[in-house]
């Protein structure tokens, strides 16, 4: 079985993330990037499926030069191969364009099972898996908190707002997993050494028979018109509880502000 994990390279969420003033895109300079933490759950799912049957796991990422690090992390965790789609024209792509690039690459890879995270830790739209499913005409079972692959059937448990559901579909399909699905492994020393010898291909838009005017900022179908940093919250009142004084002052605050 050919398993492909779509993994995004994102700026570190704990760093000071900013936007570039020239074009309102994410400023990647001076902020460390990494494999989106939520995509580690997708890598772990793929590796578990592989280990319980047979298969080959490929990490696919669309992103700038440094995004090769995301591919590398996946290989260190145990994936077999990597594909990095990189092209200057991709900069500024929106979700619709990103899904187009991923779909072309997935078609070229001829994947049986495509695994996604639940959402990136930067854009965080949680829409790319559904878009890819739509473009490839493949079934999608999304936001799995528990995943079983049983022959050609993929079954997930999804804990929704109003119900916990069992959802299934037949391979080939698109799967996305939540952060409840598993506990992603850390790369072992052996894994880190082995990753250096694993094959990574670099594809351009031309390799996917796409042209620059189909993707990127200039042809994005959404446009950011304004970015403002949230003003810092004004410093609040902090009291220390002594023998019930904290509760009394808290209730007084709630009362003054008409919450009672």
């Amino acid at each position: 079985m050919k398993i492909v994990v779509c993994a995004k390279f994102v700026p570190d969420a704990t760093a000071d993330r900013r936007f570039r003033s020239e074009d309102n895109t994410v400023d990647r300079a001076g902020v460390d990037g990494l494999l989106s933490e939520l995509d580690e759950y997708a890598v772990e799912t793929a590796l578990t499926v592989k280990e319980s049957g047979d298969g080959e796991v490929t990490i696919l990422t669309v992103g700038p030069e440094q995004a090769a690090d995301a591919v590398k992390k996946g290989l260190q965790m145990g994936a077999d191969a990597g594909v990095h789609v990189v092209d200057d024209a991709i900069h500024g792509s929106d979700a619709v364009a990103t899904s187009l690039i991923l779909s072309k690459a997935l078609a070229k890879l001829d994947a049986d099972l495509v695994v996604f995270g639940m959402g990136s830790t930067d854009g965080g739209m949680g829409v790319v898996p559904a878009m890819v499913s739509e473009r490839l005409g493949l079934p999608a079972v999304t936001l799995g908190s528990e995943v079983t692959v049983d022959g050609q059937t993929v079954r997930i448990r999804r804990d929704g707002d109003t119900a916990s559901e069992t959802i299934e579909g037949t391979l080939p399909l698109v799967l996305s997993v939540s952060d409840q699905a598993n506990e992603p492994r850390y790369p072992s020393f052996k894994g880190i050494m082995a990753a250096k010898k694993k094959p990574v291909e670099t594809w351009s838009l031309a390799d996917l028979e796409l042209t620059a005017d189909q993707v990127g900022g200039s042809s994005a179908w959404t446009e950011v018109v304004e970015v403002t940093a949230r003003p810092p919250r004004s410093a609040g009142t902090i009291v220390t509880d002594e023998d019930g004084s904290g509760a009394a002052e808290l209730v007084e605050f709630l009362s003054t502000n008409k919450f009672l």
Binding site: A13, D94, A95, V96, S99, M118, G119, D122, G124, M125, G126, V127, A130, M131, S133, E134, R135, G137, L138, A140, R155, G160, D161, T162, A163, S164, E165, T166, I167, E168, G169, A220, W221, T222, E223, V224, V225, E226, V227, T228, A229, R230, R233, G236, T237, I238, V239, D241, G246, A247, A248, E249, L250, V251, F253, L254, S255, N257, F259, L260
Partner: protein
């Protein structure tokens, strides 16, 4: 005036508050046309009329509820072809976002998710506001191609009534076999708690690792205030509270009038889900906890002492 499609969010005909918000927003952009999928359209009609739907398009094909989101996206595509809307508004929950994603591909249109505000803008179409990077930035955007598809977060607008008496138009949709490939084989409804819905609540009291596993004081304080209960991921991962109540990046994003964090340190991923709350209160025994950087009012103290005393006092004052 142009038509603006609103996908109705409902449970068996009981219209969710988010739908009233979407209809209110739709009126800023044009004439709201409500699209109702499933059973119970007659039950929903008064609420849809109250918030200004000029027409209700009802889709009752049973396949729409059996096969997840793909058929709903197909149906909306067919409705859009007929109505030619100037924008499509959908609730920003897991299902709504997937429907919107598929629709964007089908209609060759730009998509904006998680809008916290939508305004008419100039002739170039609606301008949306998103809160991004854990709530640290506010971004205004617009769709520049196709029919703007916008998913809107709960509490993005205050519902304003504008009585209409919409007529119901049954609309026949055809669902392709390709859209019927992922099926729901089992569904266990969540137990009702009797508390307000987390994403819609005006007040939320959340507990974290500091509860030590006992959510009793958090729930009691929430109930005294008529609030919903939330939890941090540490509390959820420890099995103390169900995941459906997690607030944060991988849980719910909430924006209530009042958010009370008890025994929660205030990690960036938790902030991502609550930073835009109007008023923030914390109870934490560590004066250095980062949550105190956000608060309007903070109590340094043990939640097991502070919350029960406060609950008693609130109950007394309300009586």
């Amino acid at each position: 005036m142009s038509n603006v499609l609103v996908l109705v969010d409902h449970a068996a005909g009981k219209v969710r508050k988010t739908t009233a918000e979407l209809l209110t927003i739709a009126r800023r952009l044009g004439e709201p046309v409500a699209v109702f999928v499933g059973e119970g359209v007659q039950d929903a009609l008064p609420a849809l009329g109250q918030y200004g739907a000029t027409k209700v398009i009802a889709l009752s094909n049973p396949e729409l509820s059996q096969f997840l989101v793909a058929p709903k996206a197909e149906a909306l595509q067919q409705v859009a072809a007929k109505v030619e809307p100037s924008a499509i508004l959908i609730s920003s929950n897991a299902e709504g976002k997937e429907i919107a994603a598929r629709l964007a591909v089908k209609l060759d249109s730009g998509l904006i998710t998680d809008a916290v505000d939508v305004q008419a803008g100039d002739s170039a179409g609606p301008v949306t506001t998103q809160s991004v990077f854990a709530g640290n930035y506010t971004v205004k955007s617009k769709v520049t191609h196709g029919t703007p598809i916008i998913t809107v977060k709960p509490n993005a607008a205050t519902p304003e009534a504008a009585e209409t008496s919409p007529e119901v138009e049954e609309f026949d949709v055809s669902i392709s076999d390709a859209a019927k490939t992922a099926r729901i084989t089992e569904s266990k409804p969540r137990e009702a708690t009797g508390r307000p819905e987390l994403t819609e609540a005006a007040i939320i009291v959340s507990g974290g690792r500091g509860t030590g596993g006992d959510f009793g004081p958090v729930e009691a304080f929430a109930d005294s205030l008529g609030a919903a209960v939330g939890a941090s991921r540490a509390a959820v991962d420890s099995g103390w509270y169900p995941h459906a109540y997690q607030v944060g990046q991988t849980g719910k994003t909430v924006s209530p009038q009042l958010y009370v964090a008890a025994g929660i340190s205030g990690a960036i991923q938790h902030r991502a889900g609550m930073q835009t709350s109007k008023t923030i209160v914390a109870v934490n025994k560590d004066p250095e906890a980062p949550i105190f950087e956000l608060v309007d009012f903070g109590v340094v103290g043990d939640l097991h002492k502070v919350l029960p005393t406060a609950t008693e006092e609130v109950t007394k004052r309300k009586a």
